[in-house]
């Protein structure tokens, strides 16, 4: 199997390598697509449940449900790795063909989302979700809720751009 590279060179790609690349690309699109759908659900249904009237809604939701455990079954760090790894591998495997730049943008968006989540959103989660507002004042909880909702929307926007770039790369026929 031959693929045309960016410099119009012809690179040899074995059938096995092509299968691996296809599986990885498939996995990357599935993983990213599920994240977009799941985040949309979370934004429309779950977030309003605890953000509607803070701090009471925060305390009743996070103390009254098992959310802090069950949410990890979909959005947990392990699934972050499962979603991100195939995208990075797909980008590396496509480094010498014309879909490279779309995948670089997509990978960059994933890296930004991961760093943003770990550095900015997780510390808020600790106070807002794990401690259900804890000993923070009413105003502090309200500010944290506002910051979290805004950050979640920014994250979703960046992720959607990354997903669209991934789909664009996915559509480019490299054979």
């Amino acid at each position: 199997m031959f693929i045309e590279t960016e410099n119009n060179e012809i690179a040899l790609m074995t059938k096995g390598q092509k299968i691996v690349r296809n599986v990885i690309s498939w996995w990357a699109v599935i993983g990213f697509g599920l994240w977009v759908g799941g985040t949309l659900f979370s934004m429309l249904v779950i977030v309003p449940l605890w953000s509607s009237s803070p701090p009471e809604s925060v305390r009743s939701f996070f103390l009254g449900t098992n959310f802090n455990n069950t949410v990890l079954n979909f959005f947990g760090p392990q699934w972050m790795v499962v979603r991100a790894a195939p995208l990075f591998i797909y980008t590396a495997l496509s480094w010498r063909n014309k879909k490279k730049w779309w995948l670089i943008i997509s990978s960059m968006s994933m890296i930004i989302i991961i760093i943003f989540t770990l550095v900015y959103i997780y510390p808020i989660n600790e106070a807002l979700m794990t401690q259900a507002g804890g000993t923070y004042s009413r105003d502090e909880v309200c500010i944290m809720v506002y910051d979290w909702v805004f950050a979640d929307r920014v994250r979703f926007f960046i992720g959607t751009i990354g997903y669209l770039c991934l789909l664009r790369a996915f559509q480019i026929n490299e054979d």
Binding site: I30, G33, V36, G38, V71, N73, F170, Q171
Partner: protein
Amino acid sequence: MISQLVRICTVILTGMIAGTLWCIWFGFNPKTLSLTSYLEQQQNLIKSFNVLMPALGLVAIIFTLITAFINKERKSVLFSLLVAAICLICSGLVTRFGNQPINAVVITWTPEHFPENWTDVRDKWWLLHIIRSVTSFVAFLLVVQSEIRK
């Protein structure tokens, strides 16, 4: 260009449906919730999605069928997309004749007025939800696979 746009929309729409349903399946199992928390979560879900999701599903089915028609010369792609459309239709039928009748009942419940067998109703809804999650995920897998095969 239009063909590419339709194909990309098909992937996005089926992905959104599968992602939403899977997120509920894995992240928001109501079995551990108290009645009050369950009612709050479920009624909010019904208000937000009872119209939106079936509409999204219908559009996804139409786009999948259009993509199948565009690829009518490629038999394997056509077959994958037709099976994907059937899976989406199955999800739609399970929603229409399984989940939505239950939703119509649950939306009327209050923490003070609810039936004794509310956990049976909840569990039946959950089983139907798992079925439609699986069928929509298979549809998404097939749509993405058809893009690889193109």
